[in-house]
């Protein structure tokens, strides 16, 4: 069993599943958006906001934002542990990685809050 400082004790299996499930959600959502553009070639803002006032669509959108956040977090963590390792950076690696991931976490939180505001804000 391999452990890592910034692992936050998740298992590889849960990460792997989150990546796959979130990817499916994001794919479905992308198809949904694409479908809207196909169905309404000359989409107006009224139509657009009409669609998004539907609670099911808002829920779906929110799920996708969450999926995006999860996907990004695991993806960025993976990238960090591939490229920002002691093999490349020496003893500073853990610190660099923590800073990098703090940045990622901040960005992801901002996107999440922004998403909530867009879909559920007044």
């Amino acid at each position: 069993m391999v452990t890592s400082a910034t692992n936050f004790s998740r298992t590889g299996l849960s990460d792997w599943l989150v990546q796959r499930v979130s990817a499916i959600v994001l794919l479905a959502y992308s198809l949904f958006i694409f479908g809207i553009f196909v169905l309404y070639p000359e989409l107006s803002f009224e139509q657009w906001s009409g669609i998004f006032s539907n609670n099911a669509v808002r829920l779906f959108s929110m799920m996708s934002v969450l999926a995006l956040c999860g996907h990004a977090w695991i993806g960025m963590w993976t990238i960090a542990t591939d490229y920002l390792t002691s093999l490349q950076l020496g003893s500073a690696a853990t610190f660099v990685r923590l800073v990098f991931q703090l940045g990622c976490a901040l960005l992801i939180t901002v996107y999440l809050l922004w998403g909530i505001q867009i879909f559920w804000g007044s």
């Binding site: 391999v2 890592s4 998740r10 298992t11 990460d15 599943l17 591939d82 093999l87």
Partner: protein
């Protein structure tokens, strides 16, 4: 023909260098790369490399031949170099070089040992062999044949990035060899040792391992099976 060999002797060289050596290669037959290397060593005895069986079963002479990992003894010259071109030999990538084409394989063996590469069976030992159906035995085909040459693992970018954490294709192939053995009773213990985010899950399905395996084995498929078993176990 011209052979370009990665040369590094820690006692005399500050840095490694590619050094050309001219080797007289007979033209009446297709030599193996190892034959050429042996001829080169007759001219310059200081060239260091490993070799043993010279028939592709011991796994000693894994090296990087014109950019691709392979066993020198079963790689025909004609398959890697066009007439008139250079043969370029480098050590296996991703491992520390001891000298010339010899790499330090300790971390590779350590990853192999991590998967508990031996049969574990908690049931009482019978007086004869444990029975196994031909069908169950067939599940070990494509797994047990591994020769630990490290061609696959050292061609894997995930192993290059995390050689201390990612077990690598060779080790995982052996992990699955025991998971797949109907005589082994330690599947859950084995799986518990593999569920972290690194050991197995750093495999990105790049499949370099499959492309270079000199025995035609498929570690990526074995890794897929391990993943399925992990999912089944957690379900």
């Amino acid at each position: 023909m011209l052979v370009s060999i990665y040369r590094y002797n820690p006692e005399t060289d500050l840095k490694p260098a590619m050094v050309d050596i001219e080797v007289d290669v007979p033209t009446d037959r297709d030599l193996m790369v190892l034959d050429v290397l042996n001829l080169a060593k007759e001219k310059d005895t200081t060239i260091a490399y490993r070799r043993s069986c010279r028939e592709g079963v011991c796994g000693s002479d894994g090296m990087n031949i014109n950019g691709t990992n392979g066993l020198a003894c079963i790689t025909p010259l004609s398959s890697v170099v066009k007439p008139g071109k250079k043969l370029v030999l480098r050590p296996l990538p991703g491992l520390p070089v001891v000298r010339d084409l010899v790499v330090d394989m300790s971390i590779f063996y350590k990853q192999f040992e991590k998967v508990k590469p031996y049969l574990m069976n908690s049931e009482p030992v019978p007086n004869i062999e444990r029975l196994q159906s031909p069908e169950d035995r067939a599940k070990l085909d494509g797994l047990y044949e591994c020769i630990l040459c490290a061609c696959c693992t050292t061609s894997c970018p995930s192993f290059w990035w995390n050689p201390d954490k990612f077990i690598g294709p060779a080790g995982l192939l052996q992990a699955y060899r025991f998971l797949a053995d109907s005589r082994d009773t330690a599947a859950s213990e084995r799986l518990a040792g593999l569920e972290d985010p690194f050991s197995v899950f750093r495999c990105r399905g790049i499949m370099n391992c499959v492309a270079v395996c000199p025995k035609g084995l498929n570690p990526t498929r074995a890794i897929g099976h391990i993943r399925s078993m992990l999912i089944e176990q957690s379900a």
